[in-house]
């Protein structure tokens, strides 16, 4: 019997992807994302897991989401990248040079190895807090007084 690191309560709930403190895996529950939008978790598991059955794929296609099968046999939306911050898989508009994750608000510069395949080139540096500062609560995607997401770097530049 291998002696293991005792999983914390938080770890035991893993698989329950947590997006900035919001549990999204149990299915059915509503939550407000960091951009203030009302979101609903459709089904248990991550976005990738949700699209794994042929039924799920069909449903996605009916909604107009183009799907592709990976070399490993999983299904995922075409032109998608995984957000390096919240790790959600998100679709990038064709040809976009910059992109904002709809889940957490992180902003990326995008490059295109092929016309249908985006790649996260790097972060939008102006949207990164400087060294030594912690990320403010709710940032990125922090809302202004009128409830609109703050698009500019709160630290200037």
């Amino acid at each position: 019997m291998v002696k293991g690191v005792n999983p914390s309560k938080k770890d035991k709930k893993e698989g329950s992807a947590t997006i900035h403190g919001v549990k999204v895996n149990k299915g059915g529950e509503e939550y407000t994302d960091l951009l203030g939008r009302k979101m609903k978790v459709e089904k248990k598991g991550s976005q990738e897991a949700r699209h794994r059955t042929s039924q799920d794929v069909d449903e996605a296609k009916k909604k107009g989401v183009e799907m592709e099968k990976t070399a490993s046999g999983y299904w995922r939306p075409v032109r998608s990248v995984r957000c390096s911050s919240c790790q959600e898989r998100v679709t990038v508009p064709k040809g976009a040079a910059e992109f904002e994750c709809p889940f957490c608000g992180m902003r990326y510069r995008i490059s295109w190895p092929t016309p249908d395949q985006p790649r996260v080139r790097g972060a939008v540096w102006d949207a990164m807090p400087p060294a030594g500062l912690t990320w403010p609560k709710g940032w990125p995607g922090e809302l202004d007084d009128e409830g609109n997401p703050i698009k500019k770097n709160p630290y200037g530049k």
Partner: protein, 633 residues
């Protein structure tokens, strides 16, 4: 059925006496170790006398090609170079892509084992079942690019391939590398210095012998299927377009790289170091033998102060070692520095780390212009960078101290300089910062050859894969959280053993991992199940741990430097910011890792493990008997 696995040989060479022996590889050897890293590690452990210095003529150097090199398999042409490391005193081992190993196989040899020291510079010429020791006076002192051209000219054969050392290897820079082609380097652990200590400039090869395929039709079908599968992979498409530097942008974005030695875990506005910038330098693409991916740029600096520097690459690691680590964000400067270290034959990871360390010492006043011979070591200053690289290569001035590697250099400089090193077992880490990722931190700490990312890189938890997918991969409880410590030791254990088997067949992993048992069977006739291959991987890892144990390494050496535990990260995304490695949790991970490998709490293999893996038998029972005839007393 032709057993192509048994018509190959191991060549043993004693450079002191000039004796040469050959040994046919048996099926038994293949089933025990497969080849390449397996042969090298076993031979190194059984033949290297205890207590010797790495530069002692009695030390051995092993050069091997993977068992699938030159056959109908993509991405399997790597060459393993091994021996007691001059840098660490532990396992010395590194592998490289390119064409050399395959040429050696076509000449009839899977492995060349060299001991002794030649009186004057020599090189080995391996051709069609023969090994010759030839005078190397005409190539001694040349750089790695010049050397191969002169050899081709001398032999009037432009298809010769060679594993070469540059001036750094000749000057015994402890992290000199062995190279073939413009990019492929067995960079880590100072195998170039080991070759230099034997007055061995290179091993050149030219082969025209058959390498029979066991089941040609099935092998061809398997190759086509593997290539078709690889072409569908988004990773392969991205590699084809941008090359291996693609990892840099992602890791820098998250905050998992080292900048300014270890002061920052992210370099803002380093856009120029992202591979998309290579478009202005690229003049073509290049691949290793039999590979459809072409993951390398052939580049040339078109204008400016670094005009006409040229090369192939750059690697992900080069962008850090000659980029962020030393405070440089210019691709021009990075490529020119890469060109220099490649031609001179130095490991650019170690070299970049040493320069970065020196710059941080200079910034903190631990060393001054008096120590550096008037050189101001300012972050990102190209003049300082190039001059220091030159001094290291030719062992001049302050560079002579840095050429000794991290621990010896810190001992010479003193004054708490060791605190600023980022090393494990005396070898510097690559440019990654593992404080936010316990899995990678453990991987770097326990690697048998010192801080390293290629002995088993446990990265799937960075990709946000579902928990159930991770658990199927690793066969135990996992978490998708890369900050967590749970399940990470299992990841490291898994990847280490996988890396052992992949190195045996010579696979680089870039094109995906072939169905190894099937591929082996149809190409070589060797029939091994998944379980048997796993056992061979375990065996190789345990051999490395036994070797390190015999050199005094133990649990105390499987740790990171203090800054990992004490200084939090300051940059990056929310999950990478403010992170340190928790000492207590790290120790628990270590316990778990040792138990998975069948080691005791000191990291030494238990008797039961040694017996289970068949390593308690007389060494010559399996391999290496002719070597004993020619080894130095």
């Amino acid at each position: 059925m032709t057993m192509s696995i048994t018509n190959q040989k191991i060549g043993y060479v004693n450079l002191t006496t000039g004796e040469i022996r050959k040994e046919y590889i048996t099926e038994e050897m293949r089933e025990f170790l497969i080849g390449s890293r397996g042969f090298n590690m076993y031979l190194m452990h059984t033949l290297t006398p205890k207590g010797i210095d790495a530069f002692d003529p009695k030390n051995w150097l092993f050069v091997s090609c993977g068992v699938l090199g030159g056959m109908l398999v993509p991405s399997c042409s790597r060459t393993q170079v091994s021996g007691l490391s001059p840098l660490t005193g532990a396992v010395g081992d590194s592998n490289m892509g390119g064409f050399f190993g395959v040429e050696m196989r076509y000449a009839g040899f899977d492995t060349i084992a060299v001991t002794g020291k030649a009186e004057k510079p020599v090189y080995l010429f391996v051709h069609d079942d023969e090994i010759e020791i030839l005078d190397a006076e005409y190539i001694w002192g040349t750089d790695t690019s010049d050397c191969i051209e002169r050899i081709k000219e001398k032999h009037c054969d432009y298809d010769i391939k060679a594993a070469i050392i540059g001036q750094a290897g000749e000057n015994l820079v402890r992290y000199a590398n062995v190279r073939n082609g413009l990019k492929s380097s067995a960079g880590r652990t100072g195998m170039g210095a080991l070759m230099g200590s034997k007055n061995l400039k290179c091993v050149a090869a030219k082969g025209t012998l058959d390498l029979p395929i066991a089941e040609p039709e099935e092998a061809l079908a398997s190759w086509k299927a593997e290539v078709a599968k690889a072409r569908e992979r988004r990773m392969v498409k991205t590699l084809l377009r941008f090359g291996k530097g693609i990892y840099f942008g992602n890791t820098n974005t998250v905050g998992l790289i080292r900048a300014y030695n270890f002061k920052q875990n992210q370099m803002l506005y380093a856009d120029d170091l992202e591979v998309e910038s290579m478009d202005r330098f690229t003049v073509g693409r290049e691949a290793c033998f039999g590979c459809q991916i072409h993951c390398r740029h052939r580049w040339k600096v078109p204008e400016g102060p670094y005009k006409d520097h040229y090369g192939v690459g750059p690697e992900y690691t080069s962008l850090g070692s000659m980029g962020t680590e030393i405070g440089n964000v210019s691709m021009d400067v990075c490529l020119a520095a890469d060109d220099l270290v490649n031609k001179w034959g130095i490991d650019n990871l170690e070299c970049g780390s040493m320069v970065a360390w020196a710059m941080e010492l200079y910034e903190n006043g631990i060393i001054t212009k008096e120590d550096t011979g008037g050189l101001a070591l300012k972050w990102g200053d190209p003049k300082a960078i190039y001059e220091l690289l030159r001094q290291i290569t030719f062992r001049e001035g302050f560079g002579d101290i840095l050429a000794e590697g991290p621990l010896r250099a810190a001992e010479k400089i003193g004054k708490n300089s060791a605190y600023y090193l980022v090393q494990v077992k005396g070898m510097s880490n690559l440019q990654s910062d593992e404080r936010p990722t316990p899995s990678l931190a453990l991987n770097v700490a326990v690697s048998t050859r010192g801080a390293d990312h290629l002995r088993g890189r446990p990265v799937p938890d960075l990709f946000g894969l579902p928990k159930d997918v991770l658990e199927r991969m690793y066969g135990g409880e996992q978490t998708t959280d890369f900050n967590s410590y749970m399940g990470k030791s299992r990841m490291v254990w898994h990847h280490e053993i996988s890396a052992c088997t992949h190195d045996c067949i010579g696979n680089c992993g870039m094109g995906g991992q072939p169905n190894m048992p099937h591929t082996l069977k149809v190409n070589t006739g060797l029939e091994l199940s998944d379980e048997e291959m796993w056992t061979i991987g375990e065996r190789i890892h345990i051999i490395e741990r036994l070797f390190n144990k015999s050199r005094g390494f133990s649990r105390k050496d499987d740790h990171l430097v203090d800054r990992y535990y004490d200084v939090p990260t300051t940059m990056g995304m929310p999950k990478a910011r403010g992170k340190t490695i928790d000492r207590d949790k790290f120790e628990i991970m270590l316990d778990e890792y040792y138990e998975l490998h069948g080691c005791d709490s000191e990291g030494h293999p238990t008797k039961e493990t040694v017996k289970r893996l068949g390593l308690d038998k007389e060494p010559s029972y399996i391999i290496g008997a002719p070597a004993k005839e020619i080894a130095l007393d």
